[in-house]
Symmetry: C2
Subunit: 178 residues, 2 copies
């Protein structure tokens, strides 16, 4: 049986250390969210499914009246995780509304086109800033995977921002020329 997308994220995250559903959500939000998100509505049901399949194991760590179940990965879970990493299918999807707008820019004014590019550029710059902020933390860990991906995020953001910059410049030159 195959691992769902959320199942992969969960297995990967608890492989380093046991975590609760709440912990997993928090981790996703500050790490993988950029290229793979997950919500409570997926996480809690998926935790139960993974436990049923014997890939993870829950242990009760309630404190007083507050419930808390911490899940850890089982040997079968580690097998499933490495089987996934070793598999060669790799989903890659981009949904970029700015590009869709640019695609149809023949039906827009010059100002609108400029605004689309500026918004996209700013979005990339904001992302770049966030990544730069958390880079020192990631650099401390001996696990280099997260740092590698964070650097990808930075490079990607820089690429996007610079591309918009160039496009805006070109647009301006064409205006001056025409």
């Amino acid at each position: 049986m195959e691992l769902s997308a959320t199942g992969r994220v969960i297995l990967g995250l608890i492989a380093t250390q046991p975590r609760s559903g709440y912990d997993i959500k928090a981790m996703v939000d500050k790490s993988t969210r950029f290229f793979w998100a997950a919500s409570y509505g997926q996480i809690y049901p998926e935790l139960k499914r993974l436990a049923e399949r014997g890939l993870i194991e829950g242990s009760d760590e309630s404190q007083g009246e507050r419930p808390r179940t911490v899940y850890s990965i089982t040997p079968a879970g580690r097998d499933a995780l490495s089987a996934w990493i070793g598999s060669d299918e790799q989903v890659h999807e981009l949904r970029d509304e700015a590009l869709l707008k640019l695609f149809f820019s023949g039906h827009a004014s010059r100002d609108e086109l400029v605004s689309v590019l500026e918004t996209k550029r700013e979005e990339h710059l904001d992302a770049l800033e966030k990544f730069s902020e958390i880079e020192p933390m990631a650099a401390e860990s001996e696990d280099f995977g997260p740092l590698m991906v964070l650097r990808y995020g930075k490079a990607y953001s820089e690429f996007g921002a610079e591309w918009c910059e160039r496009a805006l410049k070109e647009l301006n030159e064409r205006k001056d020329a025409g």
Copy 2:
């Protein structure tokens, strides 16, 4: 009332010329698919919804017994299209399974890591090739939106492939050093 994602693609595509549902699907598959996809299951129902709202208009162009409805955009549809392009929200989502694998690469072997990077690099190179093939066609059109986006696709693919290349090289150097 807001325009759905599929609604935007449809409006944008028929703004240049009237098309059938089948035509729209074919256009999406060879153009916007890279950053915004659509399937029959969305297109046909959405065409009816847009027609009900008066944003598009269908005209029967059946040939003999073979049915064909060609939709064209209405003035209200053009208004909705330009309102969307002028709006400042812009969804931007990336789902990259390779990055997820790299993120968890602490739980994988060196060979697996290399394989993930190589697969991702190849994927980008394949995309680059496809874009390059269709560029001459896009360059002929007087509508520069599609060409602009195609060039983004090329630049993005180059970025991705080069990043993987660098990562592989680094990995190799570290191996030689250690």
